[in-house]
């Protein structure tokens, strides 16, 4: 599957799951900030990606569920260097440029951009051969 085909499928999933228009889904758009995704939408997105691509996404594989609750990783509303590293290891597909500049917990959602999601799907497809 080409990059454009993966992008088109991801884009379709997001339009469907988040009721957004095609022109809102840009590579840099963040799921929570720009596209208005809420926590339960992530579950919906995971299910729809699985159906669209035919692979299985394990719990916490795409969206981590416990990093921001761990006091070792978060202090004073900001991710510690250790927390950032943990997140980076768990989410190699994510876009950390903004979070590195301002590691506030509130900004964690910004690592989930449309292109991060596309990268994630591409790596899953590659792993599946």
């Amino acid at each position: 599957m080409t990059h454009d085909e993966v992008y088109a499928k991801v884009s379709e999933v997001l339009m469907d799951a988040l009721a957004v228009d095609e022109d809102e889904v840009t590579p840099e758009a963040t799921l929570t900030g720009d596209l208005g995704a809420e926590s339960i939408d992530f579950l919906d997105i995971v299910f729809k990606l699985e159906q669209a691509f035919g692979f299985k996404i394990a719990q916490g594989e795409l969206f981590p569920d416990n990093v921001t609750q761990d006091p070792e990783f978060v202090q004073g509303g900001k991710l510690t260097p250790k927390g950032l590293e943990a997140l980076r290891q768990r989410l190699p597909h994510a876009d950390f440029s903004k979070l590195d500049a301002d590691p506030s917990v509130a900004k964690v959602g910004e690592i989930f951009t449309v292109s991060a999601l596309v990268r994630f799907c591409e790596s899953k497809l590659q792993a599946a051969g």
Partner: protein
Amino acid sequence: MRWLWIDRIVHLEAGAKIAAVKNVASSEDPFGEHFPGQPVMPGSLIIEGMAQTAGILVGHTGKFAEKVILAKVSDATLQADARPGDTLLYEAELKSFDTVGASTAGTVSLLSPGGDSSQPSEPRRIGSIDLVFSHLDQNRAGAEFPEHNFVFGPSFKMVLEQSGIKTGIEGGIQD
């Protein structure tokens, strides 16, 4: 009595499909206001009926161990009204299921009493409702909920048992 918006499960294929019916009665409370002299089943209650139907499918798939909560109405389209005397047929299939939740796709059909015949009409599809459910205990990091399964309490147990479906749900749970 809990708010039940389905009367009987007419078909259940474990982990795959479910169908339930709801007989719409003129004595139902919402018709006093929805609308005076023009009883029409509120669309929101049709969504609730689908949520109960599909929720039972999700619960059954997880052996009723999880608290299955409606998390999202992904899509709901209804193109005709249901009125007293009609029977609503809810059919849902499981699209996805994992530890944190599930998603279902469903259709709503109407069986109306026939004119000269006492037989109801063939089901007429009037809409579709797609839902996402959450397994509550798997999704609220840190939040604590009562130990007992308050979702699948006595009311759902009654509907399931009257429909001939074994639940394994223990009795005596507070509703």
